[in-house]
């Protein structure tokens, strides 16, 4: 069986029912999708299959034979990050980072389809992904900024839009 991973055709030996996630991680050493739940519930394993975001833990490999699969490993080219990757850094949208790969692929699909910076639209596209660290605030900020086509200074991070800092006297 053949599938194309980030532009390279790969031969797969796993049985037809094997989830794509297992093929990627255990057979092809493509490690960006994570086995967060293997129930379809968390989104850490999301990859793009023919441009569409899919939970790789739910997809039997036989059903995607011949498909074009994209993962985080295929986002940056020649050391140049994509805007959504830069947005993630500048907006501090990753803390522990375990959910990041899945979010990045879902956000990539959203933006490639012309997604806007609208809060509700972002939620509709990415809302099945779970992050336990960030409270999602900075994930929204990152996706929205990338949707607006902003450019990002990677030497610093963005100030929270609703935060003020001040000294205090006792």
């Amino acid at each position: 069986m053949n599938i194309t991973i980030n532009g390279t055709s790969r031969i797969v030996n796993a049985g037809p029912l094997t989830p794509l996630l297992h093929v990627l991680r255990e057979e092809l050493d493509v490690l960006s999708p994570k086995a967060g739940c293997q129930q379809g519930g968390c989104g850490t394993c999301t990859v793009l299959v023919n441009g569409e975001p899919r939970r790789s833990c739910l997809l039997p490999i036989a059903a995607v034979e011949g498909a074009e699969v994209r993962t985080v490993e295929g986002l940056a080219s020649g050391g140049k990050l994509t805007p959504v990757q830069e947005a993630w850094i500048h907006h501090y949208a990753a803390q522990c980072g375990f959910c990041t790969s899945g979010f990045l692929m879902a956000a990539t699909a959203y933006l490639e389809k012309g997604g806007s910076d609208d809060h509700a639209e972002i939620a509709a596209a990415l809302g099945g992904h779970v992050c336990r660290c960030t409270g999602y605030v900075k994930i929204y900020d990152a996706v929205a900024a990338a949707a607006r086509g902003e450019s990002f200074d990677l030497a610093t991070t963005a100030a929270g839009s609703r935060t003020t800092i001040r000294g205090v006297e006792l």
Binding site: C96, G97, G127, C133, Y140, G160, T163
Partner: protein
């Protein structure tokens, strides 16, 4: 109208470091021969950012650019002891360990710099990677040159170690009294929650959380925000959603998947507003104190109070599920009073067990 809005407030405090102390963190630092800084510590960055924050502390303690600092926390062979990443101890205790190690390295840099410049080390400072005479900025030598001289001329590895440890606070088992503070610092916070309650379904939405946190010093304000925002949503989960035992105390019907264990998701994230106050701690690194754990403590009581404000019911078992809201609304509609009064005792909820609680060693029993 089936939807009612309300606002509630809560104020909290939270200690930094392990209760009763006695929890060391250690670090050691060495300079490469060009002055670049290698920091070895055992503190695990669980996502909250301690490794970045420790690097910031080292850079400013030494007076070198941030990108000179490399931190290795990868294993127990190269790193020094750290009790662990818990008890909100990373920034304060782990941070003090790297600060103390950096201070030793700084002292040695200044001593060797003083020898090379023939100036008393007390009259020198380190600015942006250079040892400079105070008041005579043209008299200077690079930290890299000092490290090179130490390595190749003096035959010395410039290094330093630091241990942050507060003495264990022994307590009196009868009274709980201690004679020294049983923590490293205390942080303070408050939260206002605005909610909307659907009285037909009992569903509660948090519309906005306004929060104030005194963190002593925001060493990395973005990371402080990250803790506050992430904590806010975990607090919302605690207050309204999450339960390992939906029929507690029964262990039946546990949710074993994301569709049946209700963790907060992106949908309907409330509006958040945050004020960070800097009331420096006496001995934290740059005045910092804890933020991590306390960030999910203030929302549940603020939400409970907001629900009371909206619809006049107290739900005091968390999470405040739609079912509990409906049951409380039914009780209220049936005329059940919020509290009963007996003499000067005002009783909410059921009668307390504690008054009938017999503390005898032999037969401890109490009636509910």
């Amino acid at each position: 109208m089936t939807k009612h809005q309300g606002r509630g407030i809560a104020a909290i405090e939270y200690p930094t470091g392990m209760n009763q102390n006695g929890d060391p963190s250690q670090a050691w630092i060495k300079l490469k021969m060009d002055g670049r800084v290698d920091v070895f510590a055992g503190t695990v960055d669980i996502g909250q950012g301690s490794k970045t924050i420790h690097s910031q502390i080292v850079a400013d303690t030494l007076g070198v650019p941030m990108d000179w600092v490399t931190m290795d926390t990868s294993n127990t062979d190269s790193s020094a002891f750290c009790m662990g990443t818990f008890a909100s101890r990373g920034t304060f205790i782990g941070g003090n360990a790297v600060r103390l190690a950096a201070e030793k390295v700084r002292g040695r840099i200044l001593e060797i710099g003083g020898e090379l410049l023939e100036i008393d080390p007390g009259d020198l400072e380190i600015i942006d990677g250079e040892v400079v005479a105070k008041g005579s900025p043209d008299k200077k030598i690079g930290v890299g040159d000092i490290a090179g001289a130490a390595t190749f001329v003096k035959g010395e590895l410039i290094s330093g170690q630091g241990t942050a440890l507060k003495e264990y606070a022994t307590l009196d088992p009868e009274t709980g009294a201690v004679t020294i503070p049983p923590h490293s610092a205390i942080s303070y916070a408050a939260c206002a929650a605005e909610v909307e309650v659907d009285v037909e379904t009992g569903d509660v939405r948090v519309l906005k959380l306004t929060q104030v946190y005194d963190v002593g010093c925001a060493i990395n304000p973005t990371m402080v925000e990250g803790q506050i925002e992430g904590g806010a949503i975990q607090g919302l989960g605690l207050g309204l959603l999450e339960n390992c035992y939906p029929y507690y105390p029964s262990a039946e019907h546990r949710g074993g998947q994301f569709g049946s264990y209700l963790a907060p998701s992106m949908e309907d994230l409330p509006e958040l507003e945050c004020i960070i106050l800097e009331n420096p701690s006496a001995d934290g690194p740059f005045g910092a104190k804890a933020i991590g754990e306390m960030a999910n403590n203030a929302q549940p009581p603020a939400i409970a109070a907001a629900i009371y404000d909206a619809v006049g019911i107290w739900v005091t078992e968390l999470p405040i599920t739609p079912e509990k809201v409906l049951r409380a609304l039914e009780a209220k509609a049936a005329g059940q009073p919020e509290s009963t009064r007996d003499g000067k005792v005002v009783r909410y909820d059921e009668a307390l067990s504690m008054s009938s609680f017999q503390a005898a060693e032999s037969a401890v029993r109490f009636a509910v």
